[in-house]
């Protein structure tokens, strides 16, 4: 759940139509039309990536007149399906995956079960990855992949490029080679496995 209080606003006198804003928007809410950036206020989730990366300082974040509440109610889907999807992605349903918005794995799973098929659609309906826009891309990709979604980045965009390694698919040779240098790979995997087990059992520890 996120209460979206901000909205990107473009100063068309400053905008040179370079498309940087388009490429960094996690919900595809800003597009260059006729060489000027245009914001879709219904899609903007107020992350400020466009404002922070515009080379011409043409974007400002303004306070919305009416804040926009976004979120997916996990009770609207079969929670057993949510738990199963999270377990397949090696996540606890109550695990917080977006540190800025506070979105938990179960809400992202519910969004996917309700039809979200890309990270952009997940962010649009949950608000996840509209704070720092950095740290939660991998668990979102893991959940989408677990649901059988094809992972295809937005064409020409810089929103995301691909899923990466997890504790469960590190090559054995790497683990053996570096375990004496302070990388506790196997022990960490055991901690994460325990978390997933707790998630399947349900409830707080």
């Amino acid at each position: 759940m996120k209460l979206v209080t901000l909205l990107a606003q473009v100063d068309t006198d400053k905008c040179k139509g370079c498309r940087t804003c388009e490429r960094v928007c996690p919900v595809l809410a800003i597009k260059v039309v006729d060489r000027k950036a245009v914001v879709d206020p219904e899609r903007c989730r107020g992350c400020a990536n466009c404002e922070q990366r515009c080379p011409d300082y043409a974007v400002t974040m303004i306070k919305r007149d009416e804040p926009l509440q976004v979120g997916v109610d996990v009770h609207e889907v079969n929670y057993d399906e949510v738990v199963a999807l999270c377990a397949k992605a090696k996540l606890h349903p109550e695990q917080r995956i977006c540190y800025c918005v506070g979105t938990r794995a179960d809400e992202v799973a519910a969004a996917i079960i309700k039809g979200a098929r890309t990270p952009e659609e997940v962010s649009l309906v949950t608000g996840a990855r509209t704070g720092c826009t950095i740290e939660c891309i991998q668990p979102i990709l893991r959940l989408l992949e677990a649901a059988g979604c094809e992972l295809k980045p937005p064409e020409g965009g810089w929103q995301w490029y691909g899923r990466t390694a997890t504790a469960w698919d590190l090559p054995e040779a790497v683990k053996q080679k570096y375990s004496s240098r302070g990388f506790y790979f196997e022990e960490d995997r055991a901690v994460l496995d325990k978390l997933v087990e707790e998630g399947i059992k349900g409830g707080d520890a």
Binding site: R23, R53, Q95, R96, G131, T164, E187, L195, E198, G203
Partner: protein, 480 residues
């Protein structure tokens, strides 16, 4: 009792309130004093900064070290990217790191004849932060208009590694050679656990979001920093790496400059000093039985400094953050992720946030890092409505003020904290150089406890920490 040390002044930034709104510094309030770090731990090294002609001494140390490293791979017709990170500019006022960056450019030019030298300065989560530093320290002019800030959402480049494809920022690698300009300050021990600290920027401030998310979500709390090693060891990066130049930092200041073509040799030295010097301060902080933590520094909430230790690490000072047998610190993102909907940890053995912190007085700290967890776990008062409003407008902190309360003035906030907690022990995170600003009762406690802490770290903890990291005690003998 000695007078408080002058705190680092507030800085104009889009991530903090206007400096004119910081009316009172906590260190200026009655009952505050300071403790010299060298008096607490006499075996801390002598420093060249702060001190008389400190900046000139940093410059001299940098030039001398840079003259010894091999630069023969850089030809006059080549291009070089000097890679910097925002952290360096938060250390000791920022000038020493800026001076190192200037010296690197000058010596490369002098020794190689190369003129196409660019500065690429990476960030954490405040995408324009290093743009601000580049202007503040005149680095744009110094680098002939070739200094830019880079962010993890900028265009990426795939890098093939031992653990599959990871992603770097394209502009980091768009030169023939890269120079890794960093420092040995420990900063986020909760994240990197002092494992490959010197390599970390390759997985963080030089990296794309996919890589950083791998670190913080995919590998686990002690395997996380392997993404940095994986990227650095890749054929792609190895072909471009020229050398590393580090400010050698201790909790009491700049010790010197360490430059090496072998980043792992430098890394071993960084691991040793990071464990030895900072380990003593952190272990001492773990002896504090009760206190008010006062934040008063131009950095986001978790990154404000006291004696070289950041607030985020103080919230874990009830445990041994260096002990790799303990998987989860009281605060790290894996820990934060593992708190359930009812506010309880999802795993039984997650330690609580440092119970000695009875209240946090947020006098001055920046936005731009998700900080709600701290206000959720520790009673927090924020000074001034303007600061509260700034947090309410920050996309990373929309919930911070859900848990914190606002008090109009610094004096009123501290008086409230004294009455509500019943303690007079105050630790101030204001970046005081060479010492710690604290209240008199806390100064007495720290002074009394330090000798035993020093002995325990030297004889018991340090050997264990180094053994866990595979670092031989003899690394200092091979030091630069």
């Amino acid at each position: 009792m000695r007078a408080p040390i002058k705190p680092i002044p507030p800085k104009p930034s889009q991530y903090g309130i206007d400096p004119s709104l910081v009316k009172t510094r906590i260190a200026d309030l009655p009952g505050m004093t300071s403790v010299s770090l060298k008096e607490l731990f006499p075996d801390l090294p002598e420093v060249i900064f702060p001190g008389e002609n400190g900046l000139a001494k940093v410059r001299q140390a940098a030039e001398e070290a840079l003259m010894k490293v091999d630069m023969s791979m850089i030809k006059p017709e080549h291009s070089v990217n000097v890679l910097a990170s925002h952290h360096g500019f938060t250390l000791l006022g920022g000038e020493p790191y800026a001076e190192l960056l200037k010296a690197i450019k000058d010596v490369i030019e002098k020794r190689t004849g190369c003129r196409d030298i660019r500065l690429r300065a990476g960030v954490g989560m405040r995408f324009r932060e290093t743009e601000e530093y580049i202007k503040r320290y005149g680095l744009d002019t110094y680098y002939d208009g070739k200094a830019i800030g880079i962010a993890p959402v900028d265009q990426g480049i795939p890098i093939e590694t031992e653990i599959g494809t990871l992603y770097g920022i394209k502009k980091v690698y768009d030169a023939d050679w890269i120079v890794h300009a960093h420092h040995s300050d420990v900063r986020e021990v909760h994240f990197h656990r002092q494992v490959d600290k010197a390599v970390k920027p390759f997985g963080m401030s030089y990296a794309r979001i996919e890589t950083r998310s791998t670190y913080h979500q995919n590998l686990g709390p002690r395997g996380a920093n392997f993404v940095a090693r994986a990227i650095f060891d890749s054929e792609f990066v190895q072909k471009k790496f020229a050398f590393a130049a580090f400010l050698n930092i201790a909790p009491n200041g700049v010790v010197g400059v360490d430059v090496d073509n072998d980043l792992y040799a430098l890394n071993d030295r960084v691991t040793f000093t990071g464990c030895q010097y900072y380990g003593k301060i952190m272990t001492l902080f773990g002896e504090i039985d009760e206190c008010i933590a006062a934040l008063d520094f131009p950095c986001p909430v978790p990154y404000v400094f006291s004696a070289g230790v950041i607030y985020a690490n103080f919230t874990g000072a009830n445990t041994d953050l260096y002990d790799l047998d303990a998987p989860l610190p009281p605060y790290t993102w894996y820990t934060e992720a593992f708190y359930g909907k009812r506010g309880k940890p999802l795993l039984k053995d997650i330690p609580p946030v440092n119970p000695a912190i009875k209240m946090c007085v947020h006098n001055y700290a920046w936005t731009g890092y998700p900080s709600a967890f701290f206000a959720e776990q520790i009673p927090t008062v924020v000074v001034g409505q303007e600061q509260a409003e700034l947090f309410n407008r920050d996309p990373l902190n929309l919930n911070y003020m859900d848990y914190a309360t606002v008090i109009k003035s610094t004096e009123a906030a501290m008086n409230f904290a004294y009455r509500a907690t019943g303690t007079r022990k105050v630790i101030i995170f204001d970046g005081a150089m060479g010492g710690i600003n604290v209240s008199e009762p806390l100064a007495e406690l720290l002074t009394r406890k330090a000798p035993a802490v020093s002995e325990r770290v030297d004889n018991e903890l340090l050997p264990k920490w180094l053994r866990q990291r595979g670092v031989d005690m003899s690394v200092l003998k091979r030091g630069a």
